[in-house]
């Protein structure tokens, strides 16, 4: 039903969505990331259930086969061949199929990124929300706002990567500790955004209206205010996933990352670096995959930032 004369009414979200779709690079990155998620889920299922994709199958006879080498069954029909009998991405120093390991690593790498960002979002929104909404309340002699912002300042003073390294080196290295540590060292930006948004939103009429209807405070905060403060948070979350994947790979490079037998792109890359002259594909395949995926996250985040902030949209 199209009205004549007046322009079609669009909500803020629809308008942002349209602006986002117009930005071709970001839109393709978004589609790519959706595809990657599906790929990661399929990869997770397949690597666990199908013997062809078993990432820990060791075939020492085939070690360091370059990509696209055909598989020759040396065990008289007993061996499990890789997909279509070809090592699409070659094999590593133990003769494991790099394609299967990359498939397994996709879901692990993405999970590390997403869970780490999830943790930093929860802490960041919680802290920022407290500081913004209850900022004027006093605990003993300082206000909540001062207290929380000082904590943020303290956290910002630690050199982030050095802190992560210290904690990860001292804790037992498993995948959960790494997610938690990356998450807990990355929430300060979110807290600042949310606080700033909350300080502005608190004075708005719709919050006053909600309060006048005796709606409980947690409902005002989470149902009424948080959705309005989401735009900058969403942007920093998308870019945060990219940073977390990079941080995980750097940690793996130094030997503190996710430990074997769990494969992530980071530790496939750092395992491969010692064979870089003989078997460059073990280094280049995960390296380029990280580049492409992190690039997609960054472009997608940047597109969202432009879409949500009309001042940044280009005049067309």
């Amino acid at each position: 039903m199209k009205q004549t004369g007046t322009p079609e009414s669009t909500s803020l979200f629809q308008e942002s969505w349209r602006a986002f779709k117009k930005n071709r690079m970001s839109w393709y990155s978004f589609v790519f990331l959706i595809g990657l998620t599906v790929f990661a889920i399929i990869g997770k299922i397949v690597t666990i259930n199908v013997a062809t994709f078993d990432p820990s199958a060791i075939r020492l006879a085939d070690k360091f086969s370059p990509p696209l080498t055909a598989y020759v069954d040396a065990e008289g029909g007993q061996g499990v061949s890789p997909v279509f009998g070809v090592y699409w991405f070659g094999t590593d120093d133990l003769g494991r199929d790099v394609l299967s390991r990359m498939l397994e690593g996709t879901s692990v790498s993405l999970t590390v990124g997403i869970v780490a960002v999830g943790i930093s979002l929860i802490v960041g929104i919680g802290m920022g929300g407290l500081a913004g909404y209850y900022g004027r309340k006093k605990i003993l002699f300082i206000t909540v706002d001062t207290l929380i912002m000082r904590i943020v300042d303290i956290m910002l003073c630690f050199p982030a990567f050095f802190l992560i390294l210290t904690v990860v080196a001292l804790l037992p290295p498993n995948i959960y500790n790494i997610m938690i540590v990356i998450g807990l060292t990355g929430w300060m930006g979110t807290a600042r955004f949310v606080r700033a948004e909350f300080l502005a939103l608190r004075e708005q009429d719709f919050v006053l209206a909600a309060r006048s209807q005796a709606i409980p405070e947690w409902r005002i905060i989470f149902i009424h205010m948080v959705p309005n403060a989401m735009a900058p948070v969403l942007v920093s979350a998308v870019i945060g996933v990219a940073t977390a994947i990079l941080t995980e790979s750097s940690l793996s490079f130094l030997g503190f990352g996710v430990q074997p037998p769990d494969a992530t792109w980071g530790n496939i890359l750092s395992d491969g670096k010692q064979f870089i002259f003989d078997a460059p594909w073990i280094t280049f395949i995960p390296g380029l995959s990280i580049l492409v995926v992190v690039l997609a996250f960054n472009l997608c985040g940047e597109g969202l930032r432009e879409a949500f902030n009309p001042r940044l949209r280009r005049q067309r």
Binding site: F158, F162, T166, L171, S250, V294, L295, F297
Partner: protein
């Protein structure tokens, strides 16, 4: 002004003390300590472990350990657990190695990022703009060590260029000019690699800042007065667009310690980042704590400097 400086110095000192409490607590409460670095060593008997723990005051309560650390740090005789060398001397030696790397990287970052950013802002939407935008995203997204490995392979295999360490082995007694050139050759690649991310981020920032400034009313006024385009862009535009970067300058100081762990490890550069990495591996608590302390002090000093510079440069801000 002096009131503001005094105030913020006091505030930052208080923050610094809190930071040292927290980092002390994190490091001592986390599992793993120097006596457990080599658990499989059969010659390390329980008595020995007891002796080590007693010698390093590891049996004392946390606040007593903190007191020992602070006292030793300020009297200057804080000793490393690993080799019993004075920590401050160790850090100073490594600092002298890190400093040239940091300076060259910073100079590269600032001299390359500004022209790139300004140019892509002025030619918004052109091929140049699109290419630099894409390149800077690509540089942010590539793992630094992966890029470094690619560069090392190219440098070593194709160009036969020295990359590892601070100088070529055996050139210690060479003449001034030769050893200077040798140093420069060795510093080029690590400095460029650590500047890469900075160039990418900073040039983006310069671009958006410049675009925003060029949309201001006073630029339109300047144009309507009939000033030449160069005067408008560089005199009225760029000078105003540069203001926020003064803050950034202060914020880049802590990169001296924290930002260099990966690159110093790859290029075997004996700097502070690597010192920290080695200290973490051997659970050398005094070194880790002192490095953390200095890093935090640098970060706080950086914010203070940027606040003051901002007030000095921008007359609209009164402290």
């Amino acid at each position: 002004m002096s009131r503001f400086i005094l105030n913020s110095v006091v505030q930052r000192v208080v923050l610094l003390i809190f930071i040292s409490f927290i980092s002390h607590a994190i490091i001592h409460l986390a599992p793993g300590e120097p006596s457990m670095v080599d658990p499989s060593n059969p010659r390390l008997k329980p008595e020995d472990i007891q002796k080590i723990r007693a010698a390093f005051h590891l049996d004392d309560p946390l606040h007593v350990q903190y007191f020992y650390w602070a006292r030793d740090l300020f009297s200057g005789d804080l000793k490393s657990f690993k080799d019993n060398q004075p920590v401050l001397v160790k850090i100073w030696e490594r600092f002298l190695n890190s400093l040239p790397l940091f300076l060259v990287a910073t100079i590269l970052t600032w001299t390359l990022a500004f022209p790139l950013g300004v140019r892509s802002a002025l030619t918004q939407g052109s091929i140049f703009d699109k290419v630099t935008t894409f390149m800077s995203y690509a540089l942010i997204s590539i793992p630094g060590f992966f890029l470094s490995y690619i560069c090392i392979i190219i440098m070593v295999k194709q160009l036969h260029y020295p990359v590892i360490g601070m100088q070529t082995f055996g050139l210690e007694n060479a003449g001034m000019a030769v050893s200077l050139m040798d140093r420069l050759e060795h510093i080029a690649l690590p400095a460029f690699m650590s500047a890469m991310g900075g160039i990418a981020i900073l040039s983006r920032y310069v671009r958006s800042q410049m675009l925003e400034t060029l949309n201001q009313d006073y630029i339109r006024t300047a144009r309507s007065k009939g000033l030449s385009e160069d005067t408008v862009v560089y005199h009225h535009g760029l000078r105003n667009a540069l203001l926020p970067f003064i803050t950034l300058f202060g914020l880049m100081i802590p990169g001296l310690i924290g930002g260099s762990v990966i690159f110093e490890t790859i290029f075997a550069w004996p700097g502070m980042g690597r010192l920290g990495y080695e200290a973490i591996l051997s659970r050398d608590f005094p070194v880790i704590l002192t490095l953390n302390f200095f890093a935090a002090a640098l970060a706080l000093a950086g914010t203070l400097i940027s606040d003051i510079l901002y007030a000095v440069v921008d007359p609209r801000i009164k402290l």
